[in-house]
């Protein structure tokens, strides 16, 4: 079919304005698909560049090997220390950060006067906006020496320092998402509970919080995603040694393993770093899937 036939068939010949409108429509469609394309490119590149090393090293040895010695004469590529460190570090950050974030969100959503809430929203915004390297810097100069003196360990750059920094860094997203969920609970629920003789505090914790349950879970899962993906701040405070995780040892996370060796890596070592990124990506995808389930679950209710 040639162009002239095509134009006539679509009715563009008699109506050039319609041609223009349809072209613009097409342009916007393409712009919309950029996001989809990016996700596809990221996934494809990670899989293509991450899989070869996993196959060469052997999936079991790669995932469950406990020794990482990428530059040794007999290199070993076991990333179990990184995986466990990422899991422990994230769990620690959640254990410390989520209760603080949760109670702060309940206070801000239900008890705080308007002026306090406005001020706190600004506080949380600033906390969320502080660059991760600044958190790392403050952690390096306060937490690391603090832990060394307080617990009498030779080096303060430990998993504990990383956990504290991560806990602070996930606070803003935990608070913000829980806050939105708590504020969306219908006022009638609370009024019914108050009318039955519950105190206001009982109402907030026994009625409002359960009603906002799925939103609060979403906040926690988002926090997990943040914590597991953070790289620069913990690279500065965690000591960056490929140990099996322990609270007072220097450790290396999945993210920092990639970041710390990338600049001088080559050959199989470089490929293994891409494999680590692929593992990290799979973790993130899992978290995304959980988020989606939570979201649709919340909608059906």
């Amino acid at each position: 079919m040639n162009l002239r036939q095509f134009l006539a068939e679509k009715g563009y010949r008699d109506n050039p304005r319609r041609l223009a409108e349809d072209l613009i429509h097409l342009v916007f469609l393409v712009l919309g698909l950029v996001a989809v394309g990016s996700v596809l490119v990221i996934t494809v590149y990670l899989v293509v560049s991450g899989l070869p090393a996993i196959i060469k090293i052997g999936p079991a040895e790669f995932l469950f090997g406990t020794r990482w010695a990428s530059t040794a004469a007999e290199p070993e590529f076991g990333i179990l220390p990184f995986i466990l460190t990422s899991i422990y570090g994230t769990a620690g950050a959640i254990i410390i950060g989520v209760p603080i974030g949760f109670f702060a969100a309940v206070y801000l959503a239900k008890m705080a006067p308007k002026s306090v809430r406005d001020a706190m929203e600004l506080c949380i915004g600033v906390l969320a906006g502080i660059p991760s390297v600044v958190y790392g810097l403050v952690g390096m100069t306060i937490l690391v020496p603090g832990i060394r003196i307080l617990f009498g360990v030779p080096d303060g750059a430990t998993l504990l320092a990383a956990i504290v920094v991560l806990a602070v860094m996930i606070l803003p997203s935990v608070i913000n998402v829980s806050l939105t969920a708590l504020q969306a609970v219908p006022r009638e629920y609370e009024e019914a509970s108050l009318a039955l003789g519950a105190t206001s505090t009982e109402t907030y914790f026994r009625v409002t919080v359960p009603a906002a349950k799925s939103g609060i879970f979403t906040a926690i899962v988002l926090g997990i995603g943040r914590a597991i993906g953070e790289a620069m701040a913990i690279m500065m405070v965690a000591g960056n040694v490929a140990n099996m995780p322990s609270i007072f040892r220097s450790v290396r996370f999945l993210t920092t393993a990639v970041a710390s060796e990338m600049s001088y890596s080559s050959g199989l070592q470089r490929e293994a770093l891409f494999s680590i990124a692929l593992v990290l990506f799979l973790f993130i995808m899992l978290i995304n899937a959980v988020l989606n389930v939570l979201k649709t679950g919340g909608r059906n209710k």
């Binding site: 916007f28 919309g32 996700v39 590149y45 915004g125 600033v126 502080i130 505090t201 500065m236």
Partner: protein
């Protein structure tokens, strides 16, 4: 309010309230401490020499002018590219899209993008922009990586403000005989300009604070360049410079000075977004 409740209940309520106060106290003290500590350690080291010179091996001095310029270049380049794409995508989703599947795919993609950690953007950016596209380690490659990272932010804020444009505005314009594109250009977009500006401010904040994604795409160099030359050569932004000075060279005074600058920018950006939020609320309230 006089409440006759048992001691156990009262104790429980008191405990829960105490937890709330403690948590809010912790958040407040943390924020105040972060801001004051960084400013206290950093401000004394912000000097004219630091701000307006380049690092010199000969005189053994450090200046961050190249890093400041690199940051400005990368913000401009990233925004110029991400704005049309993000706003366009939002317009497509809100004004054009009729196919439910396409909308879901785009929204799912945007959500996935906003969950991907920056270190992965850094790696893929390095593979795609630096190596595959042949840009090498350069500010432009860094900016393109940031474009993908910030796409969801711009899309979301624009979409939210597009949704607040009353349907009657569009209908009025259509009734006067305007085509779809004309309605969007002359009626819809001007009405939601505040939302787009908010998205830009948020994106600037994220670009300023990004480091992991830039480490392998934009590099560490501290050379003084013009805009065009700067984009095609490697360069450290403020955050990357902070990391290098703190972790690899042990220059904590310089690092804190940069941190203080970044902290001031963070506070300004937050005040601006809060102001824009109030502005939009007032307009929508009318």
């Amino acid at each position: 309010m006089i409440e006759r409740i048992s001691g156990k209940r009262r104790a429980w309520c008191g405990m829960m309230r105490t937890f709330c106060y403690i948590s809010v106290g912790i958040v407040t003290i943390l924020t105040a401490f972060m801001i004051l500590y960084v400013l206290f350690r950093g401000l004394p080291h912000i000097t004219g020499q630091l701000l307006f010179t380049v690092p010199s091996m000969l005189r053994n001095t450090i200046g961050i002018l190249p890093d400041i310029l690199n940051t400005i270049y990368i913000v401009i380049a990233a925004l110029v590219i991400v704005l049309p794409i993000g706003v366009g995508a939002a317009i497509y989703l809100n004004e054009y899209a009729t196919n439910r599947k396409v909308v879901e795919a785009i929204e799912f993609a945007a959500e996935t993008l906003s969950g991907i950690p920056s270190i992965i953007y850094g790696l893929v950016g390095m593979l795609v922009f630096c190596q595959f596209c042949g840009l090498g380690t350069s500010l432009l490659a860094g900016a393109l990586t940031l474009v993908i990272m910030n796409l969801p932010t711009i899309m979301r804020t624009t979409q939210e403000s597009l949704k607040t444009v009353p349907e009657s505005y569009r209908e009025g314009a259509f009734a006067l005989g305007a085509g779809k594109w004309r309605v969007i250009r002359t009626v819809v977009l001007p009405t939601c300009i505040n939302g787009i500006i908010t998205g830009c401010i948020l994106a600037i904040g994220r670009i300023l604070s990004e480091s992991a994604a830039l480490l392998f795409t934009a590099g560490f160099a501290h050379n003084l360049n013009g805009f065009i030359k700067g984009l095609s050569s490697a360069g450290a932004t403020l955050t990357v410079a902070l990391y290098v000075y703190a972790s690899e060279r042990g220059e904590f005074d310089i690092a804190f000075a940069i941190a203080a600058i970044l902290m001031i920018l963070t506070v300004i950006i937050n005040l601006l977004t809060a102001y824009m939020g109030r502005l939009m609320k007032r307009r929508n309230g009318q």
